[in-house]
């Protein structure tokens, strides 16, 4: 058992931390206020090799391990949840291609995604199917050498700003989850368009939109895996996304701790810094304890993925715990800053709005508690 980061993880963490402090953090407030996608900044991430960190060198990645990917997201999230979340989302379709794609699909789509030329999005959720994702109704119908896709997807992160979309539709309405297949759809494909952009409460620098497919014809070779394997693929990559969410939750909690700590040491009340009062010390202690515990679990989950072990339950635990920790950390940071914390001049209220998202997406916490509980009760 060794909790030390290895040399490459330490070097990568240092680089991402420096990059985040200099290039990312100061832009987060602006992104939050304008709700605009940071194209230029994402280009900078791409140019600096961020898009392919935890992927094999032969597909244009950096050859980093699972923990390297998680550390990257954690450090980025300290400066901007929106940016970290955009990258984490990019890695979802990348995982679909990496784990289930053919060699041709990898060369054509995964390589440009990892080298930073193209951004990706993954689409499963529909107006009538979120947690109940097997209940999607958009369709794919075979027509000679193409599949014709029809239907709407909602709440699609990186929608409208991506070049490559991995979209799940029903190719056999009679089969439920086993009737779902996954397709690669390129931006600009006739019949494929971007619908409403969501005006979100937080993560406002990330783009979340509706996708519309109207007789959208995609070549047969764009199906990932076999017909009917879409749900299996989706569940597998979303499960891994929970580790990414854990990293985001830890990152934003650390940002909360950092703001609260700085303010507590500077703010004077009753003739001394408020950091000298036990009430504040306890808040800081609780934040720090939970962050430390979460990091240990993140390392464990990353290590299990690295070894190819099944860790759906552990990843779900990490996601639920860290998302709730992040909410609490943001709420507590606001409390430490008092009246100032309730204003938009200080970042904790933004952190709170950003953190709320972590409890909802990538498997709502209620669904994941159900997964964890039922697994434990069965075992």
């Amino acid at each position: 058992m060794n909790f030390d980061l290895n040399e490459e993880q330490k070097m990568l963490q240092k680089m991402v931390r420096e990059f985040t402090e200099k290039e990312v953090a100061h832009l987060d407030e602006k992104m939050d206020k304008s709700g605009e996608f940071p194209y230029e900044l994402m280009k900078k991430l791409a140019d600096n090799g961020f898009y392919g960190i935890p992927y094999a060198e032969k597909y244009g990645g950096a050859g980093g391990d699972e923990l390297s990917g998680a550390l990257t997201l954690m450090e980025l999230a300290k400066g901007s949840m929106s940016v970290a979340f955009t990258l984490a989302t990019h890695w979802v379709p990348a995982n679909a291609l990496n784990n289930f794609g053919t060699e041709e699909q990898k060369q054509k789509y995964l390589v440009p995604m990892l080298t930073g030329e193209k951004l990706g999005a993954f689409a499963l959720t529909e107006p009538g199917a979120g947690s109940d994702s097997a209940g999607i109704v958009s369709t794919g119908t075979a027509d000679e050498d193409v599949w014709v896709l029809n239907g709407n997807k909602v709440f699609i992160t990186n929608g409208g700003v991506s070049d490559i979309y991995v979209i799940c539709v029903k190719t056999d309405k009679t089969k439920g989850a086993k009737g779902i297949s996954a397709f690669i759809v390129e931006k600009g494909t006739p019949g494929f368009s971007i619908g409403k952009k969501e005006d979100k409460m937080g993560c406002r620098g990330s783009s979340t939109t509706e996708l519309i497919m109207k007789d959208c014809r995609v070549p047969k070779e764009n199906m990932i895996g076999n017909e009917g394997e879409g749900f299996k693929i989706a569940m597998s990559i979303l499960e891994k996304g929970r580790m990414a969410f854990g990293a985001l939750g830890i990152g934003i909690s650390e940002a909360c701790l950092s703001v609260a700590k700085k303010y507590a040491n500077e703010r004077q009340a009753f003739g001394k810094p408020i950091a000298s009062f036990q009430a504040i010390q306890f808040i800081i202690a609780n934040m720090a304890m939970e962050i430390e515990l979460s990091k240990a679990l993140l390392q464990k989950v990353a290590s299990m993925y690295e070894k190819g072990e099944k860790c759906g339950t552990e990843a779900a635990m990490l996601k639920v715990f860290t998302s709730e920790m992040a909410m609490k950390a943001a709420k507590d940071a606001i409390q430490v800053l008092g009246g100032y914390g309730y204003t938009r001049d200080y970042p904790p209220e933004r952190y709170l709005r950003d953190a709320k998202f972590l409890e909802i997406a990538e498997g709502a916490n209620e669904v994941l508690r159900f997964v964890i509980g039922s697994t434990i009760l069965r075992g």
Binding site: N6, M11, F19, N48, A62
Partner: protein, 261 residues
């Protein structure tokens, strides 16, 4: 083009360095070593020259084993090779003894076209090592470079001076020291990080280079630091009374006397 960059690991300048009032030494506890910022400019320029002209960038440093971390960072930015000069007998060296070891190591490397340094290290602030190495190797030196253009084996270098910019033409080989106006150093690249982290760094001790033991480390250092202390901070408050006009006039006089304006 064979390019050599000499770097120094310094205490992180973004963290306030304390001096132990008793031992008069830097309190190194908890302070991370980083590449001297101007050395990063030197390294960035070396990599850019390599990218446009072809060739190889070697990075070299003298110091204890933990300097390997900085050398690995240099590799992750784009240097091809890294050499650490490390030996107990190199310890305690002043600028003269440091320059001696560097010059001897550079002689061992053989053909070098450009040798780059940062204009000075931000810890001791002497700015002497680059120029001394140039003298020891008998090479021309151009300090405070803010722009370098390559034309075959000739360099056009802008020197960033206080009141002016001086442009100098030099035939290679030459020694150049970089200032921050030269460029914006890149971040280490993730793929290169993975490779650099796994790479073995070459270490040369005193037996690996031709050196005269009397010129090494403390023995070879004529400089003797007698005392080092933090400047005492004193603030005085002066209240200027009178009407706004009188107070402004008084403030103007004070600022004039203190040579602020």
């Amino acid at each position: 083009m064979e390019i050599l960059v000499c770097i120094k690991q310094v205490p992180d300048p973004t963290v306030e360095v304390r001096i132990d009032p008793k031992t008069k030494n830097l309190v190194r506890e908890g302070i991370v070593g980083v590449i001297n910022p101007y050395d990063k400019n030197a390294l960035e320029e070396a990599i850019r020259i390599k990218e446009s002209q072809g060739g190889k960038v070697t990075v070299i440093s003298m110091g204890p084993p933990q300097v390997k971390e900085s050398l690995r960072e240099a590799l992750a930015m784009g240097a091809d090779e890294a050499i650490l000069l490390s030996d107990r007998e190199f310890g305690g060296a002043d600028t003269l003894a440091t320059s001696y070891v560097l010059a001897q190591a550079i002689k061992k490397l053989g053909k070098v076209d450009i040798i780059l340094f940062g204009k000075n290290a931000v810890d001791a602030d002497t700015g002497q090592v680059g120029p001394i190495v140039a003298e020891k190797l008998g090479l021309p030196q151009i300090t405070f470079a803010s722009k370098i253009s390559v034309d075959g084996n000739i360099l056009l270098v802008d020197r960033h001076l206080e009141e002016a910019t001086e442009t100098i033409k030099v035939t290679l080989p030459a020694v150049i020291t970089a200032c921050k106006e030269l460029n914006e150093p890149r971040y280490p690249n993730p793929l290169k990080i993975m490779k650099a982290a796994r790479k073995e760094i070459t270490v040369w001790g005193k037996t690996d280079i031709q050196v005269d033991a009397a010129k090494l480390g403390l023995k070879g250092s004529p400089t003797c630091v007698l005392e080092i202390f933090s400047p005492s901070k004193s603030t005085q408050v002066k209240i200027l009374n009178g009407s706004p006009e009188e107070a402004s006039q008084a403030l103007f006089t004070v600022l004039r006397e203190d040579k602020v304006i």
